[in-house]
Amino acid sequence: MAKRLDLKDVDIYYGDFHAVAGVNLSVAPRSVTSFIGPSGCGKSTVLRTLNRMHEEIPGARVEGEVLLDGEDIYNRSSDAVAVRKTIGMVFQRPNPFPTMSIRDNVVAGLKLSGVRDKKKLDEVCEASLRGANLWKEVSGRLDKPGGGLSGGQQQRLCIARAIAVAPDVLLMDEPCSALDPISTLAIEDLIADLKKEYTIVIVTHNMQQAARVSDQTAFFNLEATGKPGKLVEIDDTEKIFSNPTEQATEDYISGRFG
């Protein structure tokens, strides 16, 4: 199941614009890594290169290596679709498929990959919803549209949908930024559970959240507008928040930054 991720000298471009430069980092299996940093520093961009979502934007390209258990996901022979099956993603805004019921939303990945076996789909549906701590709330209305749930429930539905395809790594792009504190807490508890089975990388603007959920924290920063974003420091979360090596990190986490 869970696999490790290694980035080696990753440079990311949007056309001519050099968005992120020289990222080197490793993510251990069954751990949570959070990316923090000011807006526009490229942390979401880095996250999106980890499952090749980045290349959906015209002109975007990546240099360097992104290794999943040693295998380069940007290898010429590897298929972006296969990569994304292995590395799932949860987005900033909950985005359930509006035409589908709750059940169909959860098993959409399997169904559209050709799984027909109804019994298996039902099993996966229940297991994923339980995994996302949503089963109790929706088990009675699986046939209702997913858009009818509250924002926090929708986000957990999206997490259920992402884990239903049994990925090795789960990427989360500010999954709580559109949610209220109670829903946020539910998601954070969920992340702690999911950690037992998945490798998780999460982008967050909320430093308390990074401190609460993650084992290691990466701080990204931008030297100046127009310059590429950089990975300033990556270390154990405890160390980053108590005794960071770099002055820029300390300025940012203590609120002295911009």
């Binding site: 499952n51 979502m53 959906e56 015209p58 679709v81 296969a82 990569v83 994304r84 099956k85 292995t86 799932g88 993603m89 987005f91 805004r93 985005n95 359930p96 498929f97 509006p98 035409t99 959409a108 990945g109 559209l112 990959s113 549209p145 858009g147 009818g148 999206c158 949908r161 992402a162 395809v165």
Partner: protein
């Protein structure tokens, strides 16, 4: 006005009320604008109501007979108030449906190309050509079909030729409308689907198109309603027939606009009678289509 009053004693403003009553000048302007806008709306409504009242008033006599819907004009004398127009209703519907069978798949595919795949010169050219096609008058479309398929390729005048001309008129409407509906589908849904490891073509077929379905269907039905009343193609591309012809690929076939046109040369009052009846019938069919469009869009609309 004095806005800083409330800071020290929010309960007792020191300088009287901050918000004053509406001034007379603004009241007058408001009334004038309201009257003007209402008037403009009523003026726009006049021709619509006028046409409807006239057509219903003069056509209702013809369409309330059962024969009108169940018989053709086969063997009916010009001066006789008998027979019906089911041959023309059939013609109008089959010609529009045949056109839709070609125009809808091609149009939707073109829209998918423009929205999901189109980059660079080919997409720009396609988009430009669609705009040009949208501006082509129906007589030009009809003459083009005549020149290309009858004069050059040796086809014969038939209802199918009419359908081909209608395809040219339907295509830009279907493409533009579908394009707009597809662009309304948020990119987040596409990304969510990609992130599940679903390939792009499947994302389009199973996520994007179903999300845009209701608007697309509505657009198709409106396009159908539009081409049903087209007169130029039927004048150029098919002969009129008094009797029913079920075969769209050969022979003459009536349609409601063509029937009206041919009855224009009938000097008898019965001819007038049939023209108004056919006009009302056409309006009714189009109205049913529009109603159908709104029902479809309501039922396939995304429920929250």
């Amino acid at each position: 006005m004095s806005t800083a009053t409330g800071l020290d004693s929010p309960d007792r403003p020191a300088h009287g009320p901050t918000f004053q009553a509406l001034s007379t000048g603004r009241k007058i302007k408001d009334k004038a604008a309201t009257v003007l806008v209402t008037l403009a709306f009523l003026i726009a409504l006049v021709p619509l109501v006028w046409v409807l009242v006239t057509v219903v008033g003069r056509g209702i006599g013809a369409i309330i007979s059962a024969d009108w819907w169940g018989r053709s004009l086969n063997g009916v004398l010009p001066e006789s108030y008998a027979g019906g127009v089911y041959h023309a209703i059939y013609g109008t519907i089959i010609q529009a449906l045949l056109a839709a069978v070609i125009a809808v798949p091609v149009g939707i595919a073109a829209a998918v190309y423009l929205v999901e795949y189109g980059r660079g010169r080919l997409a720009k050219t396609t988009s430009f050509m669609v705009d040009i096609l949208a501006g082509v008058p129906s007589i030009v479309a009809a003459l083009f079909v005549f020149a290309a398929f009858i004069s050059i390729m040796g086809g014969v005048q038939s209802a199918f030729m009419v359908s081909l001309a209608l395809v040219l008129l339907m295509l830009p409407v279907v493409i533009r409308n579908t394009e707009e509906m597809l662009r309304l589908v948020p990119d987040e849904l596409r990304e969510a689907s990609y992130a599940l490891g679903i390939p792009k073509w499947k994302t389009i077929l199973r996520i994007v198109l179903p999300t845009a379905l209701s608007g697309t269907v509505t657009g198709v039905m409106l396009a159908l309603a539009r081409v049903m009343g087209e007169t130029a193609p039927v004048l150029v591309l098919v002969g009129y027939s008094q009797s029913i012809n079920f075969d769209p690929f050969s022979g003459n076939m009536a349609s409601l606009p063509l029937l009206m046109f041919s009855e224009l040369s009938n000097p008898e009052p019965a001819g007038q009678f049939r023209i108004w009846g056919a006009a009302l019938t056409l309006i009714l069919i189009i109205m049913i289509l529009q109603l159908g469009a709104s029902v479809v869009s309501r039922f396939s609309a995304i429920s929250k």
